[in-house]
């Protein structure tokens, strides 16, 4: 597979050589994870084109998981190389294989392992055949990987486009879905606009420093004092705007709620994790390592952006009536937290941001997977109503969702807590006390809207008053000829058939009818508890389980992840 890519590349190199351009030596091992993604992507397209019958979506999902796992393994091999032999640059210094970059290679591979699982169930339900989602995800992932390892502004721009264009298409790929086209168009227009600004920023920076290579820019700035620095600062500002759009930092966030709401839900989850991972990787690298000499200039700007992002994200999310829109604003709030690490501009800050992005990626993927499942056929039921009584109907799903939401709020013993902890600790040790306090204040505000959703699932069902009345109701319910319902299920006010509902699979309609009939005898109070059952396919269940497990395991034992992020920063 990679062999074929190599042949293609060498043929291309010969063609280029005919034009007289000097072709650099290409170290294929340095970009192996990206090549695996792209090669695998071509393979998937090829198989899909050549297969006589349309393959089921699960087949493509399996292939994508396999490709991503291969890329994960090669990223880990690179990690070993980097930790043993130190960082190195490749492909004419355009790619920088260092701990920081490889951290993101690992993270992006992980996202690509989980995302297809979460999408498979959704695509099957919506009846979307074909390999497009997976192919686009792989391309986008390779773009994010190049962003993380790029050592040249031009490569960052190319990678940004490779990352973004598939995301524009993903936003609109379910053409039957209302709002999807609008979301795609909006994302595309604003994204293209921000890309243009970004290119302008590159041009100005090049004009001021004479290079697009990050290391050379840094070296130039270290040696020279730019006396009239208007062009340089202008370039820096435009770069910041470009990145700001990608990571949805206020005031460049306007596209986020509409696009998150309009996109097919699994695409939203993917977009939220992938675009942030890639965007922040490049943003951190460019600002912290390339422009450390201008830190006193850009730090206040980041400070302001971080505060705006934190506050607006948390406050506006409070008044949302649509869960996807609420989560869009919550993702803006999270972006503010990642910015804390950048504002600190220390090794600790960068490590904190890395940790945060790692934790957040799994949280947001899992959260949107649950939202996609609850959204039902057509992917359009995203009101709070839809979640009413979910805790009684499908306790396991509701508990998993609650864990993900509470982790986003920063509950202890989840990765969400340590993510917030590491960035806030970095901010405090950099003496940004006000920023740290604003961040924690916004976390407290954010807790409200996460809890609102949890509350709807678990508590917001009218039921008979406990005590005397409830006991009687329970007794009469038990007397009813509903053999499979135990006292608890009836008294608890819902048609939760024990055992069956606890597995993440749907209950057969006959059972639902039976349960509803039995529950009806308890009284009208239970009627509200009966809502549509959420179908969760085994693929999605596995994906959600991985996300929840990551959240809890690294929440109780965060040391490996902390070490990983810390070491990654040391080998910058």
């Amino acid at each position: 597979m990679t062999g074929s890519t190599a042949i293609v590349a060498s043929v291309a190199a010969h063609l280029v050589a005919a034009t007289g351009i000097v072709v650099p030596h290409i170290d294929y091992t340095a970009i192996l994870p990206e090549l695996i993604l792209l090669g695998g992507m071509l393979l998937v397209v090829l198989v899909s084109a050549l297969s006589p019958r349309p393959l089921p979506t699960e087949a493509y999902a399996t292939a994508t998981v396999g490709i991503a796992t291969a890329s994960l393994i090669s990223s880990l091999v690179l990690w070993r190389d980097v930790t043993n032999h130190g960082p190195f640059t490749a492909v004419a210094d355009a790619v920088n294989v260092d701990g920081f970059g490889v951290f993101f290679l690992v993270l992006i591979s992980c996202i690509l392992v989980v995302a297809p699982m979460l999408a498979a169930g959704h695509l099957r339900r919506e009846g979307i055949e074909g390999c497009e989602y997976y192919v686009l995800a792989l391309i986008s992932g390779s773009g994010a990987m190049f962003m993380a390892t790029a050592n040249d502004l031009v490569l960052i721009f190319l990678a940004l486009e490779i990352l973004s264009i598939p995301l524009y298409i993903l936003a609109g790929f379910d053409h039957r879905r209302e709002g999807s086209g609008e979301a795609a168009m909006k994302y595309f227009v604003l994204g293209a606009f921000s890309s243009a600004i970004f290119v302008y920023g590159i041009a100005l920076t090049y004009g001021a420093t004479g290079s697009t290579n990050l290391a050379q820019i840094a070296a130039f700035l270290a040696r020279n004092v730019v006396t009239s620095d208007g062009v340089l600062l202008g370039g820096l500002a435009l770069l910041l705007v470009g990145f700001g759009f990608k990571v949805a930092a206020v005031p460049f966030h306007m596209w986020t709620p509409d696009v998150y709401q309009g996109s097919p839900t699994p695409a939203t989850g993917f977009m939220a994790s992938m675009a942030k991972a890639g965007g922040f990787a490049a943003l951190l690298r460019v600002f912290v390592t390339t422009f450390p000499t201008l830190r006193s200039t850009w730090q206040p700007a980041i400070w302001v952006i971080a505060i705006l992002t934190l506050v607006l994200g948390a406050v506006v999310a409070l008044v949302q009536r649509d869960v996807k829109r609420m989560l869009a604003y919550s993702s803006i709030n999270h972006a503010g937290f990642v910015l804390l690490g950048l504002e600190a501009a220390t090794a600790r800050g960068v490590a904190g941001s890395e940790f945060y992005l790692f934790a957040y990626s799994f949280l947001v993927l899992g959260t949107f997977a649950v939202v996609a499942a609850v959204g039902g056929r057509g992917d359009d039921a995203h009101g709070f109503e839809r979640y009413r009584g979910l805790g009684r109907r499908q306790p396991v799903l509701a508990v998993a969702f609650s864990i993900l939401l509470l982790a986003q709020a920063g509950a202890p013993f989840t990765t969400g807590f340590f993510a917030k902890f590491t960035v806030v600790a970095a901010a405090v040790s950099a003496h940004s006390y006000a920023l740290a306090a604003v961040a924690m204040g916004s976390a407290a505000v954010a807790a409200y809207f996460y809890l609102r959703l949890v509350l709807v699932m678990f508590a917001d069902v009218a039921r008979p008053r406990p005590g005397v009345v409830a006991t009687r109701a329970a007794t009469s319910g038990a007397a009813a000829p509903a053999g499979r319902l135990d006292l608890a299920a009836v008294g608890f006010g819902g048609g939760a058939t024990p055992g069956r509902a606890a597995t993440l699979t749907a209950i057969r309609p006959t059972e639902v009818a039976e349960a509803t009939a039995a529950a009806g005898m308890v009284g009208e109070a239970t009627a509200k508890a009966d809502g549509p059952l959420v179908v969760v396919s085994p693929w999605v269940a596995t994906g959600i389980a991985i996300c929840v497990a990551t959240t809890l395991v690294f929440g109780v034992w965060p040391q490996p992840l902390v070490d990983f992020a810390h070491q990654a920063t040391l080998i910058f």
């Binding site: 306790p395 509470l406 709020a409 509950a411 202890p412 013993f413 807590f417 340590f418 902890f421 590491t422 806030v424 600790a425 405090v428 040790s429 006390y433 740290a436 306090a437 924690m440 204040g441 976390a443 407290a444 505000v445 807790a447 409200y448 809890l451 609102r452 949890v454 509350l455 678990f458 508590a459 917001d460 008053r465 406990p466 005590g467 005397v468 009345v469 409830a470 006991t471 329970a474 135990d486 006292l487 608890a488 008294g491 608890f492 006010g493 024990p498 055992g499 606890a502 965060p558 040391q559 902390v562 070490d563 810390h566």
Partner: protein, 568 residues
């Protein structure tokens, strides 16, 4: 600062009490592990779920009793310390220890959880309920035992989630509102505490180069006056909301009133103490200077809480809310005791934390019994219960008298120590606070009269008011026994509390008057020296009660010194 001496004392303190069996870690992990086990049990096997929950909480009580047995009276420092690195790069370590201040709070927690499970378990969905209660127990014990600031904070925050679900899942009509209000209030307040913790650690790191969350080391951090006050406020915000201290109490009547019986018992009995415990352990231990500066403010808030809580309790028509406001008043006493900064008042405050836990839990359980029979908390709807349930009325009377602070029952000892200690340093606050005792008597007796006296109104109800059952009696028995025992003979408790409290007082005293020779030393050195009866000669502690000076402390101190000598 005499680092080597401090370090030596520190290690002495640790090694002399190193245990073969990690009692304290077991205390935290047993309920957490049991919660996971119960999670795996099938939903239908209600009996197994209850048995597992009960067994786990009784197991915790057993371990807590063993800790009491191993605890060396007369020694003020941390004992049975177990220390394991947890997240080494961040300087966080799993460090648990117990001293006279936390010992009885741990015991109280260990007593109240099985009582709550036995007396007020949920009929609906007992599995989830048991899981949440056990997780809450792990959280509370972890908070009381942690010496590592961040581990404390993790457990302190972790208690919110179970309580949130207990209120939201099993509460009364406005449970959703109450649960959310509770969570957001406490979460918001402790958010700033996290920033405070990080700032303190960062300052400490700047001074020593060591990243640590160990409060024994952090206590030696040199803070500027402003920094100390700001940090004190960020910590105190979290504790004042949790306790609650007036005017941060507005979540508590809702949360206490709307939560199920077990929720109220554990919220008022155990969780409230997390706040006051935090004040004595962290505020007084880490920011002694700021404590001295701001003590009048906190004393005033405490006194206002006493009077306000009493007056508002008097006009409540709902029994549960009445107890909620009376709780506010009682916590006001504790806060006054803490910030009066005398050995006596602090000992009284610590004792009162335990006492309040016991009698408030008992009150909420009794109210739950009334609710089970009548389906209401409304005082006007209840009448003449005494004639049909004399035993229940008698138990209620005992508990209520303890709560009022009648001599011979446990409420008296704590309140008396607090008031007499406060009188030495802050006379007028003590005088006003004493008025609160009178108010308490008034509202409780008035409520009792309306609920229990008069002609029984059985005709209106569907069935006559039933007498306390054997099962209910069995649940109440340990609490009533403790109420009487602690009221009659508080000596064994006080003699374990006093050395630790004296160390804290000394620590604060040195910060306020740096001329005292021990100034500038870390708290562990102070704690170790507190075994010596130097405190008694100090003017602030001179007028201490007989209860503490007649203890056989001298013998214990000698043996402690011998141990220390052997170890060094």
């Amino acid at each position: 600062m005499n680092v080597s001496a401090a370090g030596q004392l520190l290690t002495t303190g640790i090694t002399s009490s190193q245990q073969a069996f990690p009692f304290l870690t077991a205390l935290v992990l047993l309920p957490a592990g049991a919660a996971i086990l119960v999670m795996l049990l099938p939903r239908r096997s209600r009996w197994a779920i209850r048995a597992a929950g009960m067994a786990a909480s009784l197991g915790v009580l057993g371990i807590a009793a063993a800790v009491l047995d191993q605890f060396q009276a007369g020694f003020g420092g941390y004992q049975m310390v177990s220390e394991h690195p947890w997240i080494a790069p961040l300087g966080i370590s799993w460090t648990l220890g117990v001293d006279g201040i936390s010992l009885f709070l741990v015991l109280m927690t260990a007593v109240l959880f099985p009582v709550a499970l036995a007396g007020a378990t949920a009929k609906e969905n007992p599995k989830s309920f048991t899981v949440w209660v056990l997780l809450l127990e792990a959280g509370c014990l972890g908070s009381f035992l942690s010496i590592d600031l961040l581990v404390f904070f993790l457990f302190f925050e972790a208690t919110l989630v179970p309580v949130y679900f207990i209120i939201a899942g099993w509460g009364h009509e406005r449970r959703g509102y109450a649960a959310t209000k509770f969570f957001i209030y406490t979460f918001a307040a402790s958010a700033f505490m996290l920033v405070g913790i990080l700032a303190l650690v960062s300052i400490h790191q700047g001074q020593t180069g060591v990243t640590t969350f160990d409060i024994r080391r952090l206590a030696s951090t040199h803070l500027s006056g402003t920094a100390e006050v700001v940090l004190f406020l960020s910590f105190t915000a979290a504790f004042a909301v949790k306790a609650p201290v007036f005017p941060f109490h507005t979540w508590s009547p809702d949360a206490y009133g709307e939560s199920p019986a077990a929720g109220s018992v554990l919220l008022a009995g155990v969780m409230a103490k997390l706040g006051t415990y935090g004040i004595i352990r962290f505020d007084l231990g880490l920011f002694p200077h700021a404590v001295v500066v701001l003590a009048p403010l906190l004393l005033t808030l405490g006194v206002v809480g006493i009077i306000y809580g009493g007056i508002v309790a008097a006009v409540q028509r709902d029994l549960k809310r009445l107890v909620a406001f009376s709780s506010l008043a009682h916590l006001g006493f504790i806060v006054v005791g803490l910030f009066a900064l005398t050995g006596e008042s602090l000992s009284g405050a610590v004792l009162q934390m335990v006492n309040h836990g016991i009698y408030t839990a008992a009150l909420f359980l009794l109210i739950a019994m009334i609710y089970r029979r009548r389906g209401t908390f409304a005082i006007p709807k209840l009448r003449g219960l005494q004639s049909s349930a004399p035993v229940l009325a008698a138990v209620f009377t005992v508990v209520m008298l303890a709560s009022i602070g009648v001599p011979g029952l446990n409420g008296f000892v704590g309140e008396f120590l607090i008031l007499s200690g406060t009188f030495l340093t802050h006379r007028w606050w003590a005088v006003v606070a004493t008025g609160g005792v009178v108010v308490a008597a008034a509202y409780f007796l008035w409520a009792y009269q309306r609920v229990f006296h008069g002609r029984a109104d059985n005709a209106a109800a569907e069935e006559p008011f039933a007498e306390m059952t054997w099962r209910e009696g069995l649940v109440m028995a340990p609490l009533v026994l403790l109420i009487v025992a602690l009221g009659v003979y508080p000596q064994p408790v006080l003699e374990r509390i006093t050395p630790s409290v004296d160390a804290v007082v000394l620590h604060v005293e040195q910060a306020a008057h740096p001329t005292i020779p021990l100034a500038g030393q870390p708290v562990e050195a102070v704690l170790a020296r507190a075994e010596r009866p130097t405190v008694a000669t100090h003017p602030f502690a001179a007028a201490r009660l007989d209860v503490s000076s007649t203890t056989p402390r001298r013998g214990d101190a000698t043996s402690a010194n011998q141990r220390k000598g052997a170890a060094s």
